[in-house]
Structure formats: C-alpha cells, structure tokens
Symmetry: C2
Subunit: 414 residues, 2 copies
Amino acid sequence: MKTLEEIGKSAKAAEPVLRIMGTNQKNEALLHVAEKLLEEKAFVLAENVKDVEKATANGMAQGMIDRLMLDDNRIEGMAEGIRQVAALPDPVGEVTSMKQRPNGLMIGWKKVPLGVIGMIYESRPNVTADAFALCFKAGNVVILRGGSDAFFSNSAITKVIRAALTDVKIPEDAVQLIEDTRRETVQEFMKMNQYVDVLIPRGGAGLIRNVVENSRIPVIETGTGNCHIFVDESADFDMAIDIIFNAKTQRIGVCNACESLVLHEKIVDAFLPQLKKRLDEKQVEMRGDEKACSAAEGLVPATEEDWGREYLDYILSVKTVKNIDEAIAHINRYNTGHSEAIVTKDYANAQKFLNEIDAAAVYVNASTRFTDGFEFGFGAEIGISTQKLHARGPMGLDALTSGKYIIYGNGQIR
Amino acid sequence: MKTLEEIGKSAKAAEPVLRIMGTNQKNEALLHVAEKLLEEKAFVLAENVKDVEKATANGMAQGMIDRLMLDDNRIEGMAEGIRQVAALPDPVGEVTSMKQRPNGLMIGWKKVPLGVIGMIYESRPNVTADAFALCFKAGNVVILRGGSDAFFSNSAITKVIRAALTDVKIPEDAVQLIEDTRRETVQEFMKMNQYVDVLIPRGGAGLIRNVVENSRIPVIETGTGNCHIFVDESADFDMAIDIIFNAKTQRIGVCNACESLVLHEKIVDAFLPQLKKRLDEKQVEMRGDEKACSAAEGLVPATEEDWGREYLDYILSVKTVKNIDEAIAHINRYNTGHSEAIVTKDYANAQKFLNEIDAAAVYVNASTRFTDGFEFGFGAEIGISTQKLHARGPMGLDALTSGKYIIYGNGQIR
C-alpha cells in the first residue's frame, strides 16, 4: 500500500502528461475504460459483495445497503456515464478572449486543467467512476478517498480503470485511491497542498465541515441545501402548490429539495389549508410559526432551530412574513447559499428577489429541484458549489479547469 | 477597540447594503472619499510622522522608511487612484450568459460581489486606500489588517474613509481596520470563515505561507515570482538581451522581475558574453551552472538552491539546457506559477512553450514585467494570483466578484 506521500508524488508525476493530452486521446481512453468496466463486471461485483456482507454484518440500514450494492444494471450505468463524459466537449484549450494592447502585445486567456484534484466522498461506489471520468476529461489527475464502507468496491473499480489506462499507454496514476481507511489519513491528506491543487468533498454536512475547517488545500464546498420557497401575496396558488409539492417530495434526500416555506401573511389563511391537503398525500410534516399554525389544522409549532435545518426528510418548516423584504431577510439569514425560489405574479418583486437573494441559484416560478448540472445543460456534474470562490452552483467540466494568460509579443519591454 | 468577533459581525451587517448598491452611488462615494483624503491631508501626514519616528527609532532601513513615508504627492496619488477606480466599469450586475432550456427555463449567470474580503498586507500605507477602493467598487466589504509599522497611517486613512462614507450615508463598516496588532490576532482572524468569504494576503513569502497554511477562509495566493526567460537556439540576440535586461533590472523588487535565465546550450558561448556585458551596466551578479560559467568570465557557480530562489535583487541564475523540452521541464519544476517567457524565432517552439508551461502568464518574445493589472488593461490590480483556483494572474475588479444563477420560470417542475 502506497503512503500518502508516494500517492502525492505519483499524482504530480502524472500531471504534466494529462495537462497537455489531446481530446481524442482522452476520449479514446474513456471509451476503453467503459468497455473494461463491463468486461470486468464479475470481478467488481464479487468485490462489492464483500462490502455488502460486511455492511449487513455491521447492521447497516437497508436504505444504505441499497446505495452500496452494485448489480449488472448499475455497472452498465457507470460505463454509460463514462461514455457520456467522453461525448462532452473538452473545455481545455479554449481561448476565451484575445485582445491586442496598445503596445502590440496580444494577450489571451486559455483554459487549462486545474492539476491534481482530491475527492473525499462518502457516497455510492459509482462516484469513483464518475469522479475519475470528469476529472480526467478536463485533463486533471485525481486522488480519491471513498468511504470505508465501499472499500472493496472502490478498490476494484479503481483497479479496473488503472488497468484500462495502462492498456492505452496513459499513466495509471491519473487516478489513485487512498486505500488506508483510517480517519487520521484523511486529516493528513488535507494538508498535502504541495501535491493537490483543490479538494472537493462530497457527502454529509459533517464531512464538509471537517474538510473546510482542516484543509490546507483550497476546498470547493458542496452540497448542503436549506432551500426556501417564498410564496408572495400575488402568487398563483395552483402553481405555488405544484412547485412546493415537487420541490419537497419528488426526492427528499437531495440538496436541492425544499426545506422551508416562506409565506406572505396576507395569503396564509387561504393558501395553507390547500397546500396542507396536497402535502398530506405524502405525509409531509409541517412545522410552522404561530400564524402558520393557526391558519391550518395539524401543523407542529416550529422552534428557532427549525429555520436552519436541512431535513432531507418529509418535513417542511413554514414561516410567515409581512412583506418581501422580510422574506428576503429571513432567507438570507438562514439559507446555505444553495437554491431559493419565489412564486409571484409581481414583476418588481420577481426582480427584487433575483437581485437581493444571496445564493447560487435564484428562481422565479420554478422548482428548486432544477439546480443540477444535467438540468442546467452542462451534461455532467461533479457537485454543487455553495461557496462563492471559483465556482458557484452546479459544477460541470468547466469548473474543473483553471486558465492561463498567453501573450504573443515581438520584443516588447517596459 | 472592537474585538475580531465584533468586526466580523459589523462586516456581515454592512454586506447586504453593499451587495445591492448601484454603480452611481458607489462612484459618488469613491469621489467623496478621494476629496476627503485631500481635505484631511494634514491629519494623515501628522499620524504618518508617528510611524516614521517609531521606525527611525527602531533602526528601520532607509529604503523601508521611504516606503512608509507619506507626503503631499503620495496622498494626492492615493486620491487619484481612488478616482481612477470610480471611473472603471462596474463588473457587478453583468449577466454574462442567458440561455433557454428545452423546458422553457431561462438560466442566466449574473456577476455579484464576493461578500466580505479580508486583506492582510505588509506594504505601504497606500494599500489601505487602494484595497478599500477596489473592494468597494466591486460591492464588497473589506476588513484590513496592515503591518504594525504603518499602524498610525493605516488608522488615519481608514478613519478618513469611514467618515467620508458616513457623510454620504453608506455604512462606515464597509471598511474596517483590525487595530489589534498582536500576531495572535492575525492567526485568529484567519479562522473567521463564518464572517469572511476570501482572504487575500499581500506581502513577502513568509506572510503568504503563514496565511495559506493556517487560514480556514479560502485564500487567494499572490505574489511570489521566480520568473524565467528561456533563450532558444533561434533567438534574436539583441531582442533577447533587451528583454532580459528589462525583466531583470527595470525594477528588481517586484514579483514579475526575471530571476532565472535558461539558455539553449548551442548558443551559450556566443550569447552569454554579450549579455554579461549589458548586465554589467547594472552590476548584475550571474550564478551559472558549469556550462554557463565556462561560457563567460565572471559568473559565480550556482548551487541547487539557486534554481528555486526569488532574489528580488541584482542577481540572476543561469541554467543551460539541451533543448526546449529540458527547458520546459526545468521551468515547470522550479517556477512559482507566475510569469515565464521564451525568446525564439521558431514557430513550433513558441507554441509548445505557450502550451506546456504551467504558469499564470506565459510570454513569447516579451518581458515578464508586463504581468500587471494595468499593463493587461484591467485598469486596476488587487494583486497577482499564483494559484489556479478562482483567479490566476493579475486580478482586477472582475476577480473580486462571484456570480449566481438567475432562473426565470413559469411554473416548471421536475
């Protein structure tokens, strides 16, 4: 087993090769990796069984085991995902501007890979294939640190990818998995800023906080979403109810699901009973402030703590406000910078909400569930940034690039 | 004196006001600040005298005292700098793309302020006015932590700016100075990621390293420049000599000055004596490898340590290489990701160098001294980023913004 230091050095050694690799070569490699994953299906599934057996013995909840388990379909899904990344346009090499200065210098900005990307994740083993494909397509080396529950699966998938890269004469160290699953290893990995250019954590709030607080490597924060929908006085009730029902219940465990409702107090009495009826179809628990609780039967009183909660469950908090300013102030105070929506017919309020809400994605009359790289048309997603530096919102291949200035001169001096 | 916690809270309180402030209001405020600085010249100069007296008593070197000292001209320069920032286009609010998705959603990307910016700097007191003006113009609140040597000057300048902001009814906490000059305070400040969105250190390598290693706030690394010039076999000697002379001697203490020369071994014997003669005009010490030392009289043998040095002095290291590949490998190994140049007549080598060198600015046939926000046409500069995340190379107002997705819908759900 390689030490972290050796992993870092191997990544740095592979970096220059990937940095200048052409698009055709990268695409051919990705297609070969996809093919190899299918060829080695039996091996990957056999390794996955070890993880599943261990998880079962440890009493892991059935929902979690379902996420962990691979089958023919899921491996085919992984391969198809890799083929889709191969089909995406390569962001690297694009010169997005080229201007001539008065002294004749031609100064351009060219997209280049970031370098070495570290991914720390807890989720399903398919993230291993996914993260590799995206990082690789953008010319980056990736060092993966998956959850220990998926250890055998992640190892197997990485092994197959590395063998496929070797087949096509690309350094296998373009992808490496940290196989030392001790907690201290993650802490040590986060200090390796001499080898790693950026760290992208994907997982629960605890993981993200640990990385943000302890990393010496620049971090792109992803994922936590306490998303609000504000129903304005002028909202179309049917539209508002459809949007809230969709954003709350279409998929509850995701970061772009709605967690909190903000209601204009003038409509609360008329609107809330209708909404409650619809949400009852999915047994959504509503936790309201005083006005909300008295507007409809069956709400639970909310506590201060509820306004900041990302439930990821069939629960919705309900806050009433006097006007749009109070709504914006409430949302800007409690949101996590992810996705926020207003439902309104009022032009000025729509514009005001778009301007003043501080979040990665701000919606008028649409569900927050659209905050997603595929829905935004990026063709891929490595995560959703909830910070303001480098990338904000859904991150596609572009977010995995940096740039450099290229300058054509003919002897200019200062 | 406010505690750090109070400073952070005050900054966060001012942030929403600046986030949505219009361009006209920001420009008028900047012009008023410039005017007020001139009005209060006597006060600022009197406070500056205290710093200069203290520095003299402590035996500070004359060069450093010169940098610290203010006079009428320098204060007028500060005011003029602020007026220039007022005249620049406001990056905030620009929607750089707006596309329609198949489901009818209109998704746009709009530039917004970063939020609260922390600046830690060692340099001259004019950075105080400069940093305020740039951050403010891009709609950001700024928390300043200047060097303790310039304490009275920085305090006075900040006081004047805050009074000017109050005059025009803008929260004075748009700019705050950390007046607690103890070292521990900086360390504590760097942990305040709940209040500060990005930290920009400006100063020597030691300061930058401390910030990068200890900050919990995302950092934009600036400044260190071990810049190379590679003279290819086909180079025009006169052009190469002019460029090297300019890049090495026009200003030695800056990060875009040339520190290291890389020479194609086929031209070293003919080229080096001519170059040496020109650099002798400024008594530049040359430290060469074996081949370089034997090609011209008066070179000092270089040690391994020289290849990684940023001298900021009349010293230049000289490395000979067999070909462009060796030159690129050497530069990518020892550079600091700042500015690198090739002098060549060869088309393929020019393109290869631009492609393969990993740095913020890569030049063909021009001096590295052009890496600068003003020379690049940004009209301003907050620093030069030598990292790959968020901003790379000279940072103008654009680098002080983030963005958000704004989405216009008409009831879309997933």
